[in-house]
C-alpha cells in the first residue's frame, strides 16, 4: 500500500444525481490534503464514499489500498457540524471513549489499553483539562479538539475532517491548524481536510483536491494556489499574493 486515496475514473452521485465525474488521481501516504470547492460541489460526498457510507457511482476508488468499507478502523472521521448534532449531556471523555468502544456489544468494561488510548488521544489535542466536563460546557474550539480526539482514539492511518474550522474565530482556527500540524508530526497519519477557506491551512497543506465544474482534480498546493484557478473555482476574483515570508495568500 503506497497511496492513501486512489481514484480511477470515479464519479459521485447522491440520490441519483451526478455530482462530479472523471476523478482520476492518486495521493500518497502521509500527506495533508485540502478538499475544496464551492457549496454543493461534492466535498462531503467524497468523504462519505471513502467511508463506505455512500456507494461509488462508477469507477474504482481505493482507500489505504482497499475498497471503501463501513467500519474501517483505520479511518478516523469528524463529520460536519459535529458538535451541533450531539446532545449536551455527555462528558468529553465518554464521547472519546465511544470512538474506541462504541461499536462493541455487551457491557464488558474498558480495558487498560482502551483507557490508555483515550488518554493519549486527549493528550494529543490538549483536552485533558476539560475531559470530564460536558460537551455543552466547553467552547467551540474545545469541542472541535474533542471531536478530533475521538477520531484519533483508534490510532487511524487516515483522518477525515469535514469543515473543522467552521464557526471558529481566527484565533481558534489557528489553534486547530497548529493542532493538525502537531498530530501529523507525531503520528503517521494522512489527513484530509474539507475547507471553505484555504488560507488558514495553506502553511500545512501538501496538496488539494478541488471539485471544479463537476469534475474532481488533485494538485500539489503550489499549483492549486493559482489566481486563475481559484477565481474560476469560487467564481469570484481572487488574487494570489506572495509575502516576504514566502507564504501564499489568496484574497479577493
Amino acid at each position: 500500500m503506497t497511496s492513501s486515496l486512489t481514484l480511477e475514473g470515479v464519479s459521485a452521485a447522491r440520490g441519483g444525481d451526478r455530482i462530479w465525474t472523471d476523478g482520476s488521481f492518486s495521493i500518497g501516504l502521509g500527506a495533508i490534503v485540502g478538499v475544496i470547492g464551492p457549496n454543493g460541489s461534492g466535498k462531503t460526498t467524497l468523504l462519505q464514499m471513502m467511508l463506505g457510507l455512500l456507494p461509488v457511482a462508477s469507477g474504482t476508488l481505493t482507500v489505504l489500498g482497499e475498497p471503501p468499507r463501513r467500519g474501517n478502523p483505520r479511518i478516523g472521521y469528524v463529520p460536519q457540524n459535529y458538535t451541533a448534532e450531539i446532545g449536551e449531556s455527555i462528558r468529553c471523555r465518554d464521547l472519546v471513549t465511544l470512538g474506541r468502544t462504541g461499536a462493541r456489544w455487551g457491557l464488558g468494561g474498558r480495558s487498560g489499553a482502551d483507557r490508555a488510548s483515550v488518554d493519549a488521544a486527549l493528550d494529543a489535542v490538549s483536552a485533558q483539562g476539560f475531559a470530564d466536563r460536558r460537551l455543552s460546557q466547553i467552547s467551540g474550539g474545545q469541542q472541535q479538539r474533542v471531536a478530533i480526539a475521538q477520531a484519533l482514539v483508534g490510532d487511524p492511518d487516515l483522518l477525515l475532517l469535514d469543515e473543522p474550522l467552521a464557526n471558529l474565530d481566527v484565533r481558534h482556527q489557528h489553534e486547530i491548524v497548529e493542532l493538525l500540524r502537531d498530530v501529523h508530526a507525531q503520528r503517521e497519519v494522512t489527513i484530509f481536510v474539507v475547507v471553505h477557506d484555504l488560507n488558514p491551512l495553506l502553511s500545512i497543506l501538501d496538496g488539494a483536491i478541488y471539485l471544479l465544474d463537476g469534475h474532481a482534480h488533485y494538485g500539489a498546493i503550489g499549483d492549486v494556489v493559482d489566481s486563475e484557478l481559484l477565481t474560476h473555482l469560487y467564481d469570484t476574483p481572487i488574487k494570489v499574493v506572495r509575502t516576504a515570508q514566502g507564504d501564499l495568500f489568496t484574497r479577493s
Binding site: P79, I86, S89, W105, Q137, Q142
Partner: protein, 290 residues
C-alpha cells in the same frame, strides 16, 4: 366539599391497608415499571425522544379502549398499539424531535380514536380514568407476570445493545462510519420504549407518563453525566417515588399517581436548584455553549 376533604385526610388504618394483597401487587408492579423506566429513560433523553415517549403513551390510549371494546386484556391492547406505533416511528428513522408536527398530529388522532372506542364500548368513566391517569392499586397478578417478562426482556436486550445504542444516539454520523447499525438500533430502541410505555401507562396513566419514563432520568442527568450513574440514579429516583408515593397514597387516601408524580417533580426541581447553585458558585468562563 367538607365531605371530600374528610375522605382525603389521614387514615389511621394505613398500616393494615399496606398489608393487603392489592398493595403487594402495587409495590411489585411499581417496582418493575420504575426499573424498566429508569433503564430506558436515559436513552429517551439522550436521543431527544421524550416527545416520542409521550406520543407512544397517547397511541396506547386507543389500544386500551379498543381492548375494552373487544373484550381482550387491556395490557394486550396497549402493547399492540404501542409496539406498532414504536415500530412506525422507528422505521421513519429521523428523530421525533425533528417531526414534531406530524407526531403531534398522529398523537391527536390516536387520542380521538381512543375516545371513539371508549364511547362505542360504552366504557364507564372509571375505565377511561384509569387509562388516562393510571391505576396502580388495581394491578392484577396476570399484569405482574407480563410486567416481569417485559422488564426482564428489556433489561437483557439493553445490556447487550447499550454501548452501540449510546454511540448511535449521541453521535449517529460517526457511529455509522464506524459500522454501527444506527437505523436498526433506532428501531430496537423504539420497541423497548414501547414495552416500557405499555407498562408505565398502567401505573401512572397516559397523561402522567413523563413522571416515570422521562423526569427521573432528566433529574439524574442534571446531577451527573456518567451514563451508568444516570441510569442508576434515575432508577433510584423512580423507585423511591413509587414506594414513598404508594405509602403516602394509602396514608392519606390520595391517588397513587398524584403522589408519584409530585415526588418525581420535587426531585426534579431540587436537582435543578442544586445544579443552578453549583453553576453560579463555580466560575465558568466557558459555560452556555450550545
Amino acid at each position: 366539599m367538607l365531605h371530600v376533604l374528610a375522605e382525603i385526610g389521614y387514615q389511621s388504618n394505613w398500616m393494615d391497608v399496606l398489608r393487603a394483597g392489592f398493595m403487594r401487587n402495587a409495590f411489585i408492579g411499581g417496582t418493575l415499571v420504575a426499573v424498566a423506566s429508569g433503564l430506558i429513560g436515559y436513552f429517551v433523553i439522550i436521543r431527544r425522544d421524550a416527545f416520542a415517549a409521550h406520543a407512544l403513551a397517547h397511541i396506547g390510549f386507543p389500544g386500551a379502549t379498543f381492548a375494552v371494546l373487544a373484550g381482550i386484556p387491556v395490557t394486550l391492547g396497549l402493547a399492540v398499539f404501542c409496539v406498532s406505533g414504536g415500530l412506525a416511528i422507528g422505521a421513519l428513522g429521523k428523530r421525533v424531535s425533528n417531526r414534531e408536527v406530524s407526531t403531534g398530529t398522529i398523537l391527536a388522532v390516536a387520542t380521538g380514536l381512543g375516545v371513539l372506542f371508549a364511547s362505542l364500548a360504552s366504557a364507564n368513566t372509571s375505565t377511561i380514568t384509569s387509562v388516562l391517569f393510571g391505576n396502580l392499586l388495581a394491578i392484577s397478578w396476570g399484569q405482574l407476570e407480563v410486567f416481569a417478562t417485559f422488564t426482564g426482556g428489556l433489561a437483557i436486550v439493553l445490556l447487550v445493545i447499550a454501548r452501540p445504542l449510546l454511540f448511535a444516539s449521541v453521535d449517529p454520523d460517526v457511529a455509522a462510519a464506524k459500522g454501527v447499525a444506527v437505523r436498526g438500533l433506532g428501531i430496537a430502541f423504539m420497541l423497548l420504549l414501547a414495552l416500557a410505555v405499555t407498562m408505565a401507562v398502567q401505573v401512572v396513566g397516559t397523561l402522567l407518563l413523563f413522571a416515570l419514563v422521562v423526569t427521573p432520568a432528566a433529574t439524574a442527568l442534571a446531577i451527573t453525566a456518567r451514563p451508568v450513574f444516570v441510569v442508576g440514579l434515575g432508577t433510584g429516583i423512580g423507585l423511591m417515588a413509587v414506594w414513598i408515593g404508594l405509602i403516602l397514597a394509602v396514608m392519606f387516601n390520595l391517588p397513587p399517581s398524584f403522589c408519584i408524580v409530585t415526588l418525581v417533580f420535587c426531585a426534579w426541581v431540587g436537582a435543578l436548584v442544586m445544579t443552578r447553585t453549583r453553576r453560579t458558585q463555580q466560575s465558568r468562563p466557558l459555560s452556555s455553549h450550545g
